[in-house]
Amino acid sequence: MAGIIRVLKSRPALIVSRLILGGIFIYAALDKIAHPDQFAEIVNNYKLLPPMLVNLVAITLPWLEVTAGFLLVAGIWVKDSAAIVGALLLVFITAISINLVRGLDFDCGCFSTAGSSKSSALLLLIRDLIFLLPVLHLLWFQPSVSR
């Protein structure tokens, strides 16, 4: 156990976590930034937001992802960025769960605005839960004075 914690605390392990997490979030955001109109349709299809807020979320969410992702990769404000990414993941997990429970067919658009008919909502949910692991790793073990 002490060995595992020593590995988790090690600099290389922390670097791997933030590069993977940051990379995923930058990648996920780029297509949404390139096609905001399509992303707005996807946000709307979740049918969770008041209609008037759909575009505001579609415009700003990808930039929050890309900014936090960039800071994680760059190693600046790592814990703060990890906290933002973690909060976003919790929002996504909640949104997917609600629609899974009410059986609404929706287009995730998590990676691409072109959508993916093959990935079921359950897979998306599991994937987002797995993405929480590096978030927790960084929140726990990343030294607070991080540059």
Binding site: D37, I59, W63, V66, T67, W77, I84
Partner: protein
């Protein structure tokens, strides 16, 4: 972890988003438009300019377009399409990649296209119609009442 840093990141991201949305040429309105559609129970939410260019039609008009030889496109799930669809309709899922849509409709650029799914709350037809607009298809209509209304009216259908 500092709340001040988190707030700074969020504000920074919002500023970048605002600048990009204003100056990139790909921006969308901050607040979507609500447009009344004749025959529809509630106003249609129009999210972007490409969506604003889509023409929404009722059963009567859809019937006319059908008789005039318009191409019908079913945007529902494969199983729903197989169970029954407008006679002669092609099946293209709203989630389909733009390239696949393009190849499924190659040579049909100038044709009247009527996209439908099922019911006013169904977003698939609008989503697919938006993709068609962006691919350069000009005459795109959304038959918003969709499959149930067509079926109930006893209009031509087929299975498979």
């Amino acid at each position: 972890m500092h709340l001040r840093n988190i707030i700074t990141i969020v504000i920074g991201a919002f500023v970048l988003a605002g600048l990009y949305n204003t100056f990139s040429g790909r921006g969308i309105p901050w607040v979507p438009q609500q447009v009344e559609v004749e025959g529809a129970a509630k106003p249609r939410l129009v999210l972007s300019e490409s969506a604003a260019a889509i023409n929404y039609i009722e059963l009567e008009e859809a019937k006319e377009k059908f008789n005039d030889g318009a191409l019908f496109v079913d945007a529902r799930e494969t199983a729903e399409y197989r169970a029954g669809h407008v006679k002669g309709a092609l099946h293209i899922s709203a989630k389909e990649e733009p390239k696949a849509i393009q190849s499924a409709l190659s040579g049909q650029q100038d044709r009247e296209i009527v996209v439908y799914c099922d019911g006013e709350d169904c977003g698939a037809s609008s989503m697919l119609a938006g993709k068609l607009k962006r691919l350069g298809f000009e005459k795109v209509h959304v038959f918003f009442e969709g499959w149930s209304a067509w079926h109930a009216a006893g209009l031509p259908t087929e299975e498979g």
